[in-house]
Structures are given as structure tokens and as C-alpha cells.
Symmetry: C2
Subunit: 377 residues, 2 copies
């Protein structure tokens, strides 16, 4: 843990909690060089839409449609069953209000699509978006995507102050859960407000591992590995291969290469790494899937490069990084839904089985728990 | 946020990271008064089983069976589909190794059942359990439940040092995700190791809200409200009722009462509270379910008191507290599974649609992403 970062972020969040809007404004001036109103106006939305070429609007529409078609299959339905005259199961309710943080470093309309589409499918009623302004403006593509998805609440806010504003409800209604990637300040702020609100995950530098054999097109493999490194200097790329030729070809370009005895060993190494993205470009990629335990996403064959998945396949690109694939997974519609336990027990079932509860309450020394079961006739 | 607590816990965790086993041993002596070996031996398991009356062993067996039957319906299966000759979907893999923290304050064999049963159903391969020892011993019921579920790895470890040992792999193999409730020190430690490992949720003081009308048996309602307060002095209990008589009956016993105009208002108040448990004891309880947005669990009718659900119905008693029901839900088998995104795209589909990706990469200024799509023929 980075204690200096922790203390720094905690100080700013505390200041925002204590001084509210005044603090948010000051940090916005200091970090984003922005002193205007935060909420994006209807005029700005319209101006953004006008500034985008018709062809790009169509590209975005088609992409959103693909995302929608993929994610709507993930919708969870209640699972209820009746047993001994009693009703049991799980029902789902959407999180009422979410916040989406869109990073400003690179304008990433795809980030907003990836989070907002499953949110809408889940039935989230209110979506607030924050994005750090550049020269006082928000990237028009981000605004266009927002508008397209019926999101009208967009704020020119970035960094720690955006997370604080959403979590504590400063200058806006408090959200229930915060989504979206950010830099290390944003991540640390999300970590610290966890509990006050829900958070999605802590996204770190991007990663790819490629498992490839002798049949893989060398140019494809190298291009995919290099594309991942473009995200930033912390990004990682591993080649796990049985091909000496491919190993040499890629290591010459500075890629981390593990030359393996066989494909099973490649998978073993991949499971240890638990990469965000795992491409399998081998003769029969499907045959390795059963062996994979840890990965955010698995992309099979030569025509499923990570950038295609990042942008247009329709699958989600919000994935666990830094080994988090050992305990968490890809963003799904389920992340916007809450499972609620439901039970309605019949008198007969209750009376027939309550001796279990009476004795367990005794063992655990819970007299009033026992009494609540005993009092019923 | 409690900064003093945060600093205190951070200091101990750092010490454990830096000095390893020596630090864990020292804290164990200081906080648990225990200086012996941590791992529970085969002899201790056997002694525990022998010390439990046959009737109690049967009670536990029947309870575990009910839990198993309820939770096995929650198992997630892969959801794959084929479209335009391409394969898409989600596959699930269990978290490989988990840690379960069982609190020592009250010996709670039910805590272990509630976490371990869905873990086993999900297919978790390795389960480590920590529980603070009392006079050097572990509660025999907890050991019996562990044994019954095939868990052989139990450690006499409590508090911050238990969380540190599991998260950093001190004196045991590092776990991937930590489950189980604890006091505020344990909770804060879990919060701080989040990222290094996964965590389930941050359990706070227990809560109940009861919605009741004139038809509710007053004694039942009161007994349920009081049973929840037995968990500790921070526990909360609310009665939301349309009955003046019931309101008076319960407020005399010190219960927080909200007298409402009608049942819809009761539900509105319940949604604001977002209680861990919500009992509905009215003439037609099912008619209110559609209106409920925020609750960990909903229990319908006079024969579904919270203690019954806590112990023997088979439903899970690990639930969101302190308003967390606004963004999270009941523990399910899904919490032990990781969704992995899977895609295998056909050449035709890729070539037909890649223009979307090429343009989006351009808009986002990602040249190498673009190249990875362009290079494919």
C-alpha cells in the first residue's frame, strides 16, 4: 500500500466532506484549471451532437447496438421455487442511482458505453457521469454517447473531487455505486469511499497474455502484444508460446516471452499471471479453455484481437487487472443488480423444522433468537 | 471514516507484511493470549466431534442439508451463444482458494455453514478457516462443521493478524478472497487488504425492519424486533406499521416505531432505511414485494421470523447492513465464482464489422489498437 498516496487522498476527501461545494470548486480549479459551472447544459449536448460527422454517429450507433444485443442476454431474473408449501429464492432489483467516472486523459467514449449499456439493461433509473473538462469542455463523443443512452446528468468534474462529489452528494444527489476506471488518485479515492457507496473494481494498468503455437501468424501476435502496451508505460504484455521462431520474433521487439514445452504449460503460466486479457491463437484454441482458471477475458483464434473486443465485438472491456482475475471477473449486468433473499414459510414447515433453530440458538447462546421461534404456535 | 482506527490497523498490517510470522505470533499473544501452534490438528478435530452429543450432530447435519438444497439452485452455468458464426458469452470459474474468518465473540458455527456451503457448491478447491482461540481452544461445533464440509485447514487466529496472515500468506498459503464477518478491527483490516485479495463485504451491526398491519400477532412482531437487538448494542430495529395499537405495544419496549398512513408508506420508509432484514407481517404480504427496492432479505408472513432464516430455513444469513442494501445483496454462490468473458470471432464477422473498431480507435487516438485490427486479412 502506498501510504503517502493514501494520506493525500484521505485529506482531500475529508476536506470535501467538511467544506462541500467550496472545496470541490477549489480542487477543480487547481487540478482541472476549471472554474465554471459543473453541470453540462442542454446547449452543450446539442453542440456536441452537431460537431460529430454523420458517419461517426452511425459508427457509435452500430457499436452501442452490438453491446446491447450482447448484454441483454445477461439480464438476471428472479429464481423462486416452492417447497413444502413455502416460497424461497432470490429476486433482483437494480441499483437506483449510479455514478460513472470517465477519465479525461484520453477521451474514451467507449468507457461510457461499456458501463452505461449494462446499467440501462439492468434498469438503473439514474445515471450521473463525471469527466474532467479540457479547456472547459467535455469531449463531444462522450456527450453524444450519453445523450444516445438517455443520460442527461453529466458533470465537468475529475479526479478525487469527482469521486468525493458522487460519494457524499456534493453539488449533486449522492449516488449508490460508482463505476469507471481512473488514474491512481481516482482508484485510491474509490477505495476509500467504499462502504459509503459501492464501487465496481479497482482498474490498474492494462495487460495481455497471448498463448500461441507454430500456426499463429507472427504479425498478428506481435501487433496484439504491442497494442496493449500503448495504454501506458505500466501496461504488461506476455507471450506464452511453444514456437521458438515466434518467441524470437517478439522478444526482439521487447516483449516478455515465455517459451514453453507444450500448450498445457502455457496455460499453467497464464493461470499464474491471471491476465486481464488472454488470447489463444493456436490450431485448436477451444481445446485449452477447460484448463483456464484465471483470466478476465479469453479470446479465441486469429480474428479475436483484444482491440476488437475493446471496441466493437459487443463484449465488455471492463476487466480485472493486476492478478484480480483470481478473485473477480468481467463487468456484467449483474453488477448493477442486487440479489435480495426472499422467503415465505408455511406454518406447517416452520413448526416441523423449528427444532433445528431452537437448538442452534441454544448452542450459540442467543436466547431472544430462540424466543422469537418459540413464541409462534 | 475513523482515521485513528485506520492508522492503527494499517500499522499492524504493515508490521505483519514486514516481519511475517514473528509479528503474527506476537499479536496472537497480545490479543488472543495464545502462544501455541496455529493449525488445528487431526486429534483436535476428532476430540471436537466426540464432545458433541449425537442429537446435535444430527441437528447440524439436517441444517447443512437444507442449506445445500437451497444454494445448489444458485449454481451459475456458462452462457454461450453463437451469432454470425462467432462464439460469445460468459464462462464461470470458482475462486481457487478462499479464507473464512469466523468471529470468536460468540461461537458461531452457523457463520461457517453460511459461507462454506455455497463455496463448496461453487467448486472452491481450498478453504482456510481462521477463528480466535479461547483458552487455546476452538469451539468444537465450528470444528465439527468444518470437518463435515471437508475443511481440514483451520487456524487458531483472530483479529487483524488473521486477516493479514490470509491476505499476505503468512504461515499459510495466501488466499484469493476473504469472507466472513468480524468486529470493526477485522472489517477495517479487510477494507485495507482489498485489492491484494478480494473481500466479500463489510458486515456492520445487524438490523431488522418489520412492516406489520392490524392483523399481525403483536407478540411475534415484538419477539422478532427484540431478537435482532440481542446481537449487540449497535443493532437496530424498526417497526413500520399502520396499527396504532401495535405501535404502542412495541414502543413501550423501546423499539423505534414509525406509524404510517398506509402500507405503501411503510414500504417507502423501508426503502429509505434499506434494512438488512425486512419482515412483512400483513394480511397479504406478497402484494408489497413489487414495491421493495432496498433490503438484504424479505421474509413474508408470520412464520418467517429472522431467527428461522438465520439458522435453519436454508437461505443465507450473510446480508448487507448499514444501508449497503442500496448497492449490494445477499451472499450467493456467485460470490465464489468469477465470470470470464469469452469470444471467438469468425473471419467473416471480423472483416465485416472491423470498420467500427478502426474508426473508434482513431477517435480515441489509439494507433496500435488500430494497427492490430488492420493487419488482419
Amino acid at each position: 500500500m502506498d501510504f503517502e498516496l493514501e494520506r493525500y487522498v484521505a485529506g482531500i476527501l475529508r476536506d470535501i466532506r467538511e467544506r462541500g461545494n467550496d472545496a470541490v470548486k477549489e480542487y477543480s480549479i487547481r487540478f482541472d484549471g476549471y472554474a465554471g459551472p459543473f453541470r453540462v447544459t442542454e446547449d452543450e449536448f446539442e453542440e456536441a451532437a452537431r460537431s460529430i460527422p454523420r458517419r461517426d454517429r452511425e459508427i457509435i450507433l452500430r457499436t452501442v447496438k452490438r453491446l446491447w444485443e450482447y448484454h441483454e442476454r445477461q439480464m438476471e431474473r428472479e429464481r423462486l421455487f416452492i417447497k413444502n408449501g413455502s416460497l424461497y429464492g432470490i429476486i433482483y432489483r437494480p441499483v437506483r442511482r449510479i455514478g460513472i467516472y470517465v477519465p479525461g486523459g484520453k477521451p474514451l467514449p467507449s468507457t461510457l458505453m461499456m458501463v452505461a449499456v449494462p446499467a440501462k439493461i439492468a434498469g438503473v433509473k439514474e445515471i450521473a457521469v463525471t469527466i474532467p473538462p479540457k479547456d472547459g469542455k467535455v469531449n463531444p463523443y462522450v456527450l453524444y454517447v450519453a445523450k444516445l443512452l438517455g443520460i442527461t446528468e453529466v458533470y465537468k468534474l475529475g479526479g478525487i473531487q469527482a469521486i468525493g462529489a458522487m460519494a457524499y452528494g456534493i453539488g449533486m444527489k449522492k449516488v449508490d455505486k460508482i463505476f469507471g476506471p481512473g488514474n491512481r488518485f481516482v482508484n485510491e479515492a474509490k477505495r476509500q469511499v467504499f462502504g459509503v457507496v459501492g464501487i465496481d473494481s479497482l482498474a490498474g494498468p492494462s495487460e495481455i497474455a497471448v498463448i500461441a503455437d507454430e500456426t499463429a501468424e507472427k504479425e498478428y501476435v506481435l501487433a496484439d502484444l504491442l497494442s496493449q502496451l500503448e495504454h501506458g508505460k505500466d501496461s504488461r504484455a506476455w507471450l506464452l508460446t511453444t514456437s521458438g521462431e515466434l518467441a524470437e520474433f517478439c522478444s526482439r521487439e521487447g516483449i516478455e516471452v515465455v517459451l514453453c514445452e507444450n500448450l498445457e504449460e502455457c496455460v499453467r503460466r497464464a493461470n499464474e499471471i491471471a491476465p486481464e486479457h488472454l488470447e489463444i491463437i493456436t490450431e485448436r484454441p477451444m481445446e485449452l479453455v477447460d484448463l483456464i482458471e484465471n483470466a478476465g477475458a479469453i479470446y479465441l483464434g486469429p480474428y479475436t484481437p483484444v482491440p476488437a473486443a475493446d471496441y466493437f465485438l459487443g463484449v465488455n472491456h471492463v476487466l480485472p487487472t493486476g492478478g484480480a482475475a483470481k478473485f473477480s471477473g468481467v463487468l456484467t449486468v449483474r453488477d448493477f443488480l442486487k440479489p435480495i433473499s426472499l422467503a415465505g414459510v408455511s406454518r406447517e414447515e416452520f413448526l416441523a423444522e423449528r427444532e433445528l433453530g431452537l437448538r442452534l440458538a441454544e448452542i450459540e447462546g442467543m436466547a431472544f433468537h430462540r424466543r422469537s421461534m418459540e413464541v409462534r404456535r
